[in-house]
Symmetry: C2
């Protein structure tokens, strides 16, 4: 982040959202939400935020790190001799917190039972998505970070193709790709790269196994990088490694057109479910609807999957500053799958495709 302290501003926005929702305060429990609001990169730490307070509730492992990373926020530190729920109750009592919202999509049922049992002076309200709504719209520093994450991923993808040999396995490609992205400045891969040769590419969430590049005429690669500020990129390409089978070429064209149809709708005010439908209709018209079972896309940022969602069930409306994957796919069991995935920024008057790796299929040279 080039601005030193975007965090106080973000907390002010959250306080405004809490006020609007008539909520007295929020116990932020999701690690990426805590990071977004304070800059803290550790875990096991909650942020108690009210109109007047911002207090990190953590344990002694993180004491120094909290002081270094978020000096502008108070911290309450427990030792190994107090449970998390007991300590939370102590803090809420000491701070006179009589009503508090929790993140219902983060806190598990058992923890919530303990909070209610221990913090008898506090009435809890279950909420969802308050911080996610803020995180959905990226500021210019976040967009710059996402561009870096994409640049690193694309450089790694380019570089790993230079290592291709007929004997190289999916797993070796995944490992070399991650290593190369790190050399280009990644903290790590955004997720375990999905490298699927031939029929394996029909498994949308396959990871990477022992199949060799020479074992089929194409390979699907779904990968991304985390840049130093924690922002994630997410891309998918299919590379031909020998003569492209006609059936594959047909699938590829359908998926390509599905993506183009979705992109054509992407601008502020568009409904996420309409964008999904545009791609899904192209695939349905070609007779493959049954083989596209997942949503069209998702937001990226401090997490690899965040708001908004492009799906038939989404109620999201596109807004400037959203950065979203667009990833239609067709997966034919035992034959293989095609997915194309790009990362798209919603701008004031349309969109910008942030990814620039060519969409054509290759062929990649095998050694």
């Amino acid at each position: 982040m080039s601005t030193p302290f975007p965090y106080a501003e973000r907390r002010a926005k959250l306080r405004a959202a809490l006020k609007k929702a008539k909520l007295p305060g929020l116990l932020v429990s999701h690690d990426p939400n805590v990071r977004y609001l304070t800059g803290f990169t550790g875990d096991s730490t909650q942020l108690l935020i009210t109109p007047k307070l911002a207090v990190m509730i953590s344990d002694s492992r993180f004491e120094t790190q909290l002081r270094d990373e978020c000096p502008d926020v108070e911290a309450e530190i427990r030792t190994a001799k107090t449970t998390q729920a007991d300590f939370l109750a102590q803090v809420l009592t000491a701070r006179h917190i009589t009503q508090l919202a929790i993140e219902g999509d983060v806190v598990n049922v058992a923890s919530f039972e303990k909070y209610k049992e221990k913090a008898t002076g506090t009435e809890f309200v279950v909420t969802s998505g308050l911080v996610d709504q803020l995180r959905m719209i990226k500021d210019k520093h976040e967009i710059a970070a996402l561009r870096r994450a994409i640049d690193i991923a694309q450089r790694g993808f380019q570089a790993v193709q230079g290592l291709f040999t007929p004997e190289m396995t999916e797993r070796e490609i995944a490992h070399e790709l991650e290593h190369l992205m790190r050399r280009h400045g990644a903290l790590k891969a955004a997720f375990e790269p999905i490298i699927g040769v031939g029929p394996q590419a029909a498994l949308p969430h396959y990871r990477a196994g022992a199949i060799r590049l020479a074992d089929a005429p194409f390979v699907l690669m779904d990968w991304g990088a985390v840049e130093p500020e924690g922002y994630h990129s997410d891309l998918t390409r299919v590379l031909a490694t020998s003569k492209i089978p006609p059936k594959l070429e047909k699938l590829y064209r359908v998926v390509f057109e599905a993506q183009a149809a979705a992109l054509a709708l992407m601008r502020p005010g568009a409904l996420a479910k309409d964008v999904d439908a545009a791609a899904r209709n192209v695939i349905a018209k070609s007779g493959y609807e049954r083989y596209f079972g997942h949503g069209l896309g998702h937001g990226i940022g401090l997490e690899i999957h965040e708001q908004p969602r492009l799906s038939p069930l989404s109620n999201d409306v596109l807004q400037p500053g959203m950065v979203i994957t667009v990833e239609p796919g067709i997966y034919l069991p035992d034959f293989g799958g095609i997915r194309l995935e790009d990362d798209v920024l919603i701008t004031r008057d349309g969109h910008e495709v942030l990814t620039s790796t060519p969409l054509e299929m290759g062929p990649a040279r095998l050694g």
Copy 2:
């Protein structure tokens, strides 16, 4: 796993545990628990288990993978047009499930609210730790997998020292270490390696930054590997890279003695909190109790942190087949920290330290 199907046997054990707890069935929602009971390595998939049924509730991304990885378990597959809660309700209705336990420490409050709202014909019961209790005791195949994970981690640690130069940064060490562990057969690192040079070592959950080996006389490394079956190792060592400061040597001796005191108690029947106290007392007697804020150790297996826990608050009793880290530490802000971590198997009549990397501090040669 050398046994082809340990999964049916594990499900039988879970059914016995459910019967004993007078529970009619369980919705297993935690990915590692689903994997433990079925062999499925994907995510976003629940296992519905009753005395007569074992059904995976998943989505179309995982259809082929489910057929390949767990052919002996039924699967119900939803598409992107149905929400998870709606689909769960449909399955529970079709299968006449009138009462069902959930994993309260896994399912979040918002999801649980939706389950109750949609599945009106099912009464839900909140439980905790049923599968964790089974996973706590490793069978011989799991112990063999953990030995492999430790072996890979130790080989990587040995190899990365061959790359040390005065200019090498913490982050470079972390990246090279992960790459080397993969070359030795790791799927990935068990977690982002913690590499802390000098004062950074005082942050128990620091990751790895831009500090160079030459910037301080020692480096703390906390790392592990995931072997191909998904089992995790977890070790910590401190290496001197030049003349050892007397203060560091003193801390080192205290931590070493704390670990030895804990190990001396580790056998079946010992209380986890007594083992923790043995180490904590050694550190307290040296005046550093304030600087050891975390628990003494945790189980390892399909996750990096699992049951049992060695801590002042633990109610666990050691049993044969448990594999537990023993990791006392002292962290002096702005000076540095010492932690020593080994992985220990509880045997029928005592324990076996599975890790064999020497405990002495080096010095490691810098280039």
